[in-house]
């Protein structure tokens, strides 16, 4: 059994069917890339895994470590190790980044029955990671994402991932809106978090990100299902030929 198993998943959003029997698995220690054209259901998959409401699962199941997570609230999933790096991270006025990180980490630990993290331990963890990601102390004191540039918001997502240490990290179009320098910093942050204990699902529209975060497997999504899977060379093939072939196939 795989660490993550998505079986025959059907999902509707506002009565519109987005996922049509999506089946997918991901292993610990591996990076799976999910590629596909606009509207193929990539972001829907990310949101359904994280537990956003308004996404109605009509059929299928999602097993994490053998446990169905679809009945769990987003915070319960997070405590089980699910993390979503948002495509569009929201601004949270009035909540300082440090407070937010600490509240989240301790809430997860509490749910898991673990003790709260000590202040020095927490400060060290955040400071070290922030340094690697080029996030200043001043940014950490500011409200979450408020006044951050697009690149800063994406780096902040990776910082949260590093602090929360998830088992399953889903990165939704983490490359969108990033210039090449920012992309390198973010990819470097992600690569640093690759671990035998962690499964990563990297959702992207373009092959470019996969030059920096090299996947173990690539899945192609079209019309709400996986239409082709392969190794990292599949990404290059898509870059050369485009998605049209798959869209035709599925229709």
């Amino acid at each position: 059994m795989s660490f993550l198993e998505v079986k025959n998943l059907h999902v509707e959003v506002e009565d519109k069917k987005i996922l049509n029997g999506l089946t997918l698995s991901a292993e610990k220690g591996q990076v799976a890339a999910i590629m596909g054209p606009n509207g193929s259901g990539k972001s829907t998959l990310a949101y359904v895994l994280a537990g956003k409401d308004n996404y109605k699962v009509t059929e299928g199941e999602v097993l994490l470590n053998g446990e169905n997570i679809l009945e769990m609230s987003p915070d319960e999933r997070a405590a089980k190790g699910v993390f979503l790096a948002f495509q569009y991270p929201v601004e949270v006025p009035g909540v300082a980044t440090m407070t937010f990180l600490r509240t989240a980490l301790n809430a997860q630990r509490k749910t898991r029955g673990e003790a709260e993290v000590s202040t020095p331990e927490f400060m060290k963890l955040v400071r070290d990671t922030a340094n690697h990601l080029g996030i200043s102390q001043e940014m950490l004191r500011r409200a979450v994402n408020v006044g951050f540039s697009g690149g800063e918001k994406k780096r902040n997502e990776i910082l949260q991932m590093a602090v929360l240490q998830p088992n399953l990290a889903v990165l939704d179009e983490t490359d969108s809106g990033l210039d090449i320098d920012a992309l390198k910093i973010v990819a470097d942050g992600v690569n640093r978090l690759r671990s035998p204990e962690r499964s990563m699902v990297v959702i992207t529209h373009y092959q470019r990100l996969l030059n920096y975060i090299v996947p173990d497997v690539v899945h192609v999504l079209a019309n709400g299902r996986v239409v082709k899977s392969g190794g990292k060379e599949l990404a290059l093939e898509l870059e050369a030929k485009g998605y049209a072939q798959f869209q035709g196939e599925a229709a």
């Binding site: 409401d53 609230s73 993390f83 929201v90 009035g94 809430a107």
Partner: protein, 433 residues
């Protein structure tokens, strides 16, 4: 207005008339004060309690909300009631049941910058400021206070004096349900500095009534921070009027924090009479159940080159009702006025109601004025973001509500007061369950 065109007097209005007739001679103050009282009561009697057809009182219909007029409160001890912000180091002036209680106060009388007098002692002196001349003096609630005023203090901060510790006017109600009419005057002279707390406390379950007036005079170049904290008992009806006159190049900050009371109206009248003043007038209201809290402002820019910011936030749960009415008047010669007003309400339940009424009356042509108002529920995308990081729903809501109110409380300059108010907001949140 002749008597026959007025609606029949309500029981409360009748009770106020008989109370005035019976106590007029016994109330403190002589000569000019008696004339002031008579004149004020005539004005009240001509109009009666304000009601919904009077635009300024549209949302706080006192004729309906004030079913009876309680008898005047007797002097009592304040045992058992701890004033708000008791954790903040301050000079406290206790005003218990509408009367100054020196025995309960701890003001440092040796500070040469502070002159403290009992209200009627002050009113009998020859001073630069005459009682009853603050903006808002024609308001009906103010007239009622003037007619019945039972006591209070006058505080003068001498020219150039910098008062390091905040001074707190601690209004405390104690005993059986009754009415109090405290009146205070605070004059902060040229170049002086003062942090002034005004607090209102009383026991829950007692339907007491407070009609308070504070006349605040801010001199040229003075720096005044006024923080009003309303944590009245759950059955209290309180109307608090603040009338402020601000001279040139002053720095005036005002913050009204309300969590208590059944029916509360904070009305603030500010008049900038000379140029170059900067003012921030803001507030936060957190209410639930069937609480009704009205923050009404009238800001008159009567001189040019003044900057004013009005920022109010309210959080409403249950069937509570908050009102924000803010009127900015820019007089014809008040050029280069810069005034911006914003009011935001966060509704935590479907039954809560928030009314926002911003008004701009601009008679000058070279000004920058604006206003914005919103009312809405917690942002679900923010809540999901927090929950996706492992924060349980109630905690995520708490964090977002705290952040919402926190942005208002940030306006309070004094760190100790700011932290106490933030803690009071957190305590309020914790009672939500």
């Amino acid at each position: 207005m002749s008597a026959d065109v007025r609606a029949m007097k309500t029981p409360a209005e009748q009770a106020l008339s008989s109370a005035f007739a019976a106590t007029r001679c016994k109330l403190p103050g002589k000569g000019a004060i008696v004339a002031l009282r008579d004149d004020a009561f005539r004005r009240f009697d001509a109009s009666g309690l304000p009601h919904r057809r009077i635009e300024e009182w549209k949302y706080t219909d006192l004729r309906a909300l004030m079913r009876e007029a309680k008898p005047l409160a007797e002097p009592v001890g304040s045992k058992g009631v701890v004033p708000a912000l008791s954790g903040v180091e301050a000079n406290r002036i206790a005003i218990v049941n509408g009367r100054y209680e020196p025995g309960w106060s701890n003001i440092d009388a040796t500070d040469p910058g502070i002159v403290l007098s009992e209200l009627f002692a002050f009113a009998g002196e020859e001073t630069d400021y005459r009682l009853g001349n603050a903006p808002g003096k024609d308001d009906i609630a103010v007239s009622l206070n003037t007619a019945f005023m039972t006591g209070g203090v006058a505080l003068r901060i001498k020219k150039g004096a910098r008062i390091s510790k905040p001074i707190q006017l601690a209004h405390i109600f104690s005993g059986a349900a009754a009415a109090t009419y405290p009146r205070c005057v605070v004059v902060v002279e040229k170049g002086a500095q003062l942090t002034l707390i005004e607090s209102f406390d009383g026991p829950s379950g007692a339907g007491y009534q407070v009609n308070s007036v504070l006349e605040l005079v801010i001199g040229e170049g003075a720096q005044v921070d006024h923080v009003k904290v309303g944590s009245d008992g759950d059955a209290a009806l309180r109307i608090s009027t603040l009338g402020v006159t601000v001279d040139a190049k002053a720095n005036y900050r005002d913050f009204a924090f309300t969590t208590g009371g059944a029916v509360v109206r904070n009305q603030t009248f500010v008049r900038f009479v000379r140029e170059g003043t900067e003012a921030s007038i803001s507030g936060a209201t957190l209410i639930k159940g069937r609480q009704h809290v009205d923050n009404t402002l009238v800001i008159e820019h009567a001189a040019g080159g003044c900057t004013s910011r009005e920022r109010f936030r309210s959080v409403l749960d249950g069937e509570s009702h908050s009102i924000f009415q803010g009127k900015i008047v820019v007089e014809p010669h008040a050029q280069k006025t810069d005034a911006k007003m914003a009011s935001h309400a966060l509704l935590l339940s479907d039954e809560a109601e928030a009314d926002n009424k911003p008004e701009l009356e601009i008679f000058a042509d070279d000004v920058q004025c604006g206003h914005g108002a919103t009312a809405g529920a917690l942002d679900s995308s923010l809540k999901f973001y927090l929950m996706s990081r492992g924060i349980p729903e109630k905690q995520a809501e708490g964090l977002l509500i705290q952040a919402f109110v926190g942005e208002a409380i940030e306006e309070v300059a004094n760190e100790g007061i700011r932290e106490s108010l933030m803690q009071a907001a957190i305590n309020w949140l914790n009672t939500r369950g």
